[in-house]
């Protein structure tokens, strides 16, 4: 067994539906303290359902074992380094989970009177203020539920501002290194997408940009540091250029973990940006959410922010709905509130100096990995790395082994893979972001694994092509899954049963 791993028993587990048995139950409701109502009499026979066919019936012990066994088939930050580039998989402090369950906050109803919501609203104000300070922006909305939702909100804000100036314009320029959500968002907000090719350094090409920006350009969507982990060295020129043409600059804040406490987007000309609170601010990814996509803006976009806004009226905080220029709501209520609590707890635990230290450690860890792996993997763009480094599989591909295969072999060494085959400007990309969370021993183990895999590819590429070798589940046939989609469990048919 390689790296930090050794075999242990992994249990099989059926689906809930397969272990179900009539009459089993895992709940106990209190006795009803009011008369029972006959549903057919109250709702009508046509509105009342029969039993839910094939719905699970299992005991409490079966429930806990089921989900515990399934959990052991997973990998999380709690188990080790999770170097997904641009995903910022940092430690999720457990105090965040505790405070999110504070009774008066977790059980607060969004429509309870404002006089009885002052604590809840204070959390919103504190977080908005902290994020404005960190980004150098003037105002923040916490309503968007995730990064892509924040992007959409941000682009809608741009459109609303331009419309108020008389012309919403037609297109948004997006570098070819951008996350897929950027073009998808621009399209969703009714804009045409114009891609711009990165220059030889993998950065925004200012001269090429100058040629395509015109009166039809609403905005540039830029990620900084960009997706190869490099700070856009011409960012001030870029933002000035856009502004000189009456266009705005949106910043995808997915990589904000590289900047906190060092530099502020508001200070280099960004008009509007989102933050992924589930990246930079440590709220757990939870297997794919919930996140939160706070959007920070400069003052000229503030009148357009989603309603309601939390405002101070004397000694009390209240919700202000009277904002005639607002784009409206992007989500019901105030957003993913429980995620906001967690992010604020992270900021409080670090404080200003601690946030900056976290950034420095994130830069140090990424550069330490880069230095150690550069002799073994090709690096097409060699500008200084910030919080992540991007290699290509060119050298390994010559032996027939691609970034996906290296990733699968890395699993055998006890690590989650890096981000595979992204950004698109790097052929066969390996995008590695360790975050500040990792200690030197964990980084060294990862480096050792990556070097060992490079050696394996030299000696026996076929072996790596069949990885992973030590997981309970070897390679999964994704092609068949897409060709013949089975998206839900169904009971075996009588014929199939007989065949069993």
């Amino acid at each position: 067994m390689p790296g930090k791993t050794r075999n242990h028993i992994s249990q099989n587990e059926a689906l809930l539906f397969e272990m179900s048995s009539p009459g089993k139950k895992g709940y106990q409701l209190p006795d009803l303290d009011v008369p029972a109502v006959d549903p057919v009499a109250a709702l009508g026979a046509a509105n009342t359902r029969d039993e839910i066919t094939d719905f699970p019936e299992v005991s409490e012990v079966e429930v806990i074992r089921h989900f515990t066994r399934l959990s052991t088939w997973n990998y999380g930050i709690d188990l080790g380094l999770f170097p997904l580039g641009s995903c910022t998989m940092k430690y999720n402090p457990r105090v965040n989970e505790t405070v999110a369950r504070t009774e008066g906050l977790a059980w607060a109803h969004p429509y309870q009177p404002e006089s009885l919501s002052q604590g809840a609203l204070k959390v919103v104000v504190e977080l908005e203020n902290a994020l404005a300070e960190i980004t150098g922006m003037d105002a923040v909305t916490l309503q968007p539920a995730a990064g892509a939702h924040g992007e959409l909100t941000g682009v809608q804000l741009i459109r609303a501002l331009l419309e108020s100036r008389g012309n919403p314009r037609k297109k948004i320029i997006i570098p070819d290194s951008a996350h897929g959500t950027n073009p998808a968002t621009a399209a969703l907000a009714g804009y045409a997408v114009e891609n711009i090719k990165s220059n030889g350094k993998g950065l925004v090409d200012v001269e090429a940009l100058a040629k395509i920006v015109n009166e039809d350009t609403a905005a540039l969507m830029v990620t900084n540091p960009n997706t190869i982990g490099v700070f856009e060295e011409d960012i001030v020129k870029v933002t000035s250029l856009m502004h000189s043409k009456g266009a705005l600059v949106y910043m995808d804040g997915a990589n904000m973990n590289a900047l906190v406490g060092i530099t502020r987007p508001g200070d280099f000309g960004i008009d509007v940006m989102h933050l992924n609170l589930h990246k930079t601010f440590s709220t757990p990814h939870g297997g794919g959410g919930p996140g939160a996509g706070a959007v920070a803006v400069k003052a000229h976009l503030e009148p357009f922010l989603p309603i309601p806004r939390v405002v101070r009226a004397g000694d009390l905080l209240k919700l202000d709905f009277n904002r005639p220029q607002s784009i409206g709501r992007v989500r019901a209520f105030l957003g993913n509130y429980g995620v906001l609590i967690r992010a604020l707890a992270y900021i409080m635990a670090h404080g200003g100096p601690g946030l900056r230290n976290a950034t420095l450690d994130a830069l140090l860890n990424a550069n330490y990995i880069r230095k150690a792996l550069e002799p073994h993997y090709d690096m097409p763009y060699t500008s200084p790395s910030m919080h992540e480094c991007v290699f290509s599989d060119d050298r390994q591909a010559a032996k027939g082994v691609k970034t996906t295969d290296i990733a699968k072999r890395l699993i055998d060494y006890g690590f989650h893979p890096y981000t595979v085959a992204f950004p698109l400007i790097v052929h066969g990309a390996l995008m590695i972001e360790p975050t500040e969370t990792e200690s030197k021993p964990e980084l060294d183990a990862f480096i050792e694994a990556m070097i060992a895999i490079a050696g394996e590819i030299d000696k026996d590429p076929q072996f790596v092509l069949k990885a992973p070798h030590h997981t309970r589940t070897p390679r999964v046939d994704e092609t068949t899954a897409a060709r013949k989609p089975i998206l839900r469990w169904k009971p075996p048919t009588a014929v199939n049963k007989a065949a069993d």
Binding site: Y337, V476, I486
Partner: protein, 422 residues
């Protein structure tokens, strides 16, 4: 580590940044606090809210008991601290639970396929509308005025920037249900979908089958939504709908001042490839054993970019897992019994009160009150948060309160509410 990099100070790591962009002062954020201080600060904020009150608010956020098991499972680091399961070989746990979730949503809604989750019920509405436009190739949407007002506001924001005309369909002033005549008048051959909610914002059940028939006769789709997921335990599922969207907060998540919740979107098999968001499918691994993976990703933004069905990426996986645990704990019998308790409590609360509408209701209903605010003020003195005054959302209902009772509503508190209104 610095020495390995040949650096004499950690600040050298960003020495290449343009000088003019550097922040030359400390962030104006107080120094770090201890775990105890942080917990204490949030406890104090909680106590500034309504702690120890009985509450009869619903309207899209419901008080339901949360079985202990839900937090136990989602607190496991293997679920909590994992990423979106792109690497199937080390994410079979998450993938299996999502497959179970998709199955349960189908069983509850009567649909064939469901995705891995949406942000919440409100943002699922425009996603449902856009999906209907892709399916029909039409470019106009009708929405019932009985759909949650904030959901309709979210739809308005999305549609405004896509130039999609959205028209509202009136409700019948007596029954509190969608006005079928108004719907028939507004449906035309350009209508992509009619969006309804049932139980609707007033708590009343809509005539889903009749609405579906009217829509289908004009080639439009029915997008059915719900805010109170517990109702699915008892109510006939919307089998006539083409797309079902909804909010799952009732399944294990506390109201939490509005989020994080989890939305769903489900549909018929023939529309599967127009679904937004993530889907988990069954397949086999190299040993021939059953395994699961994310699938049909050519619909999604990371592959299709500006041609994707949606820009959604991170969704609400952990909340969906919580709902899956919740549904496993209650199971087939429990969900029905739970729904029956909600029905019984709400009808006890409503009994003898001046109901505004005649439509059948599940666990929410509208009552008339000369001054809803005075009723609520009186109740607050008894440590009860009353109902939602409707005048803000429906000026014609300014003398009305929306009340909700769940299995957590106690008879003694309900008697006080009845006393304050009657």
């Amino acid at each position: 580590m610095l020495a390995t990099l040949g650096l004499d100070s950690i600040e050298r790591l960003y020495a290449h940044l343009p000088q003019e962009v550097l922040l030359n002062r400390p962030l104006n954020i107080a120094p770090g606090k201890s775990e105890y201080e942080i917990i204490d600060w949030f406890r104090a904020r909680g106590e500034e809210n309504a702690v120890g009150y009985a509450c009869f608010l619903g309207a899209g956020a419901y008080y339901h008991y949360r079985p202990v098991m839900c937090d136990v499972v989602v607190s496991r680091g293997e679920f909590l601290t994992s990423y979106t399961p792109y690497q199937a070989e080390m994410a079979q746990g998450t993938l299996t639970t999502i497959f179970e979730f998709q199955t349960m949503i189908c069983q509850l809604t009567g649909m064939d396929v469901a995705n891995a989750s949406m942000y919440d019920g409100s943002s699922a509405i425009p996603e449902g509308a856009m999906m209907a436009m892709r399916v029909t190739g039409r470019h106009k949407v009708l929405v019932a005025r009985t759909v949650h007002p904030e959901y309709r506001e979210v739809l308005a924001t999305y549609s405004k920037y896509q130039g999609v005309p959205v028209e509202e369909v009136a409700y019948d002033a007596a029954s509190g249900k969608l006005d079928l005549d108004d719907l028939a008048a507004k449906l035309d051959t350009q209508t992509a979908a009619i969006i309804i909610q049932s139980p609707n914002f007033f708590g009343c059940l809509e005539d889903t089958a009749k609405i579906a028939a009217l829509a289908h006769a004009k080639g439009a789709l029915l997008v059915f939504s719900f805010t109170e997921a517990v109702s699915l335990g008892l109510l006939e599922p919307p089998r006539d709908a083409d797309i079902v969207v909804g909010e799952l907060q009732s399944f294990a998540h506390p109201p939490s001042y509005g989020g994080p919740y989890a939305g769903i979107i489900a549909t018929k098999e023939k529309f599967m490839r127009q679904l937004p968001g993530r889907l988990v499918g069954e397949t086999k691994d190299a040993n021939g054993n059953r395994a699961f993976c994310l699938t049909l990703s050519t619909r999604e933004q990371h592959i299709r970019r500006e041609k994707a069905t949606s820009n959604i990426c991170t969704n609400q996986a952990l909340i969906a897992l919580m709902a899956t645990v919740y549904l496993s704990v209650y199971g087939k019998e429990g969900l029905r019994e739970l729904a029956l308790q909600n029905l019984s409590k709400a009808h006890y609360l409503a009994d003898g009160l001046p109901l505004r509408f005649s439509g059948a209701f599940f666990n929410e209903f509208v009552v008339k009150a000369d001054s809803p605010e005075a009723v609520n003020d009186a109740l607050l003195k008894e440590k009860i948060v009353g109902g939602l005054p409707l005048g803000k959302y429906y000026p014609e209902l300014s003398g009305c309160l929306l009340l909700c009772a769940t299995e957590m509503s106690k008879r003694e508190h309900m008697d006080k509410v009845k006393g304050a209104i009657a």
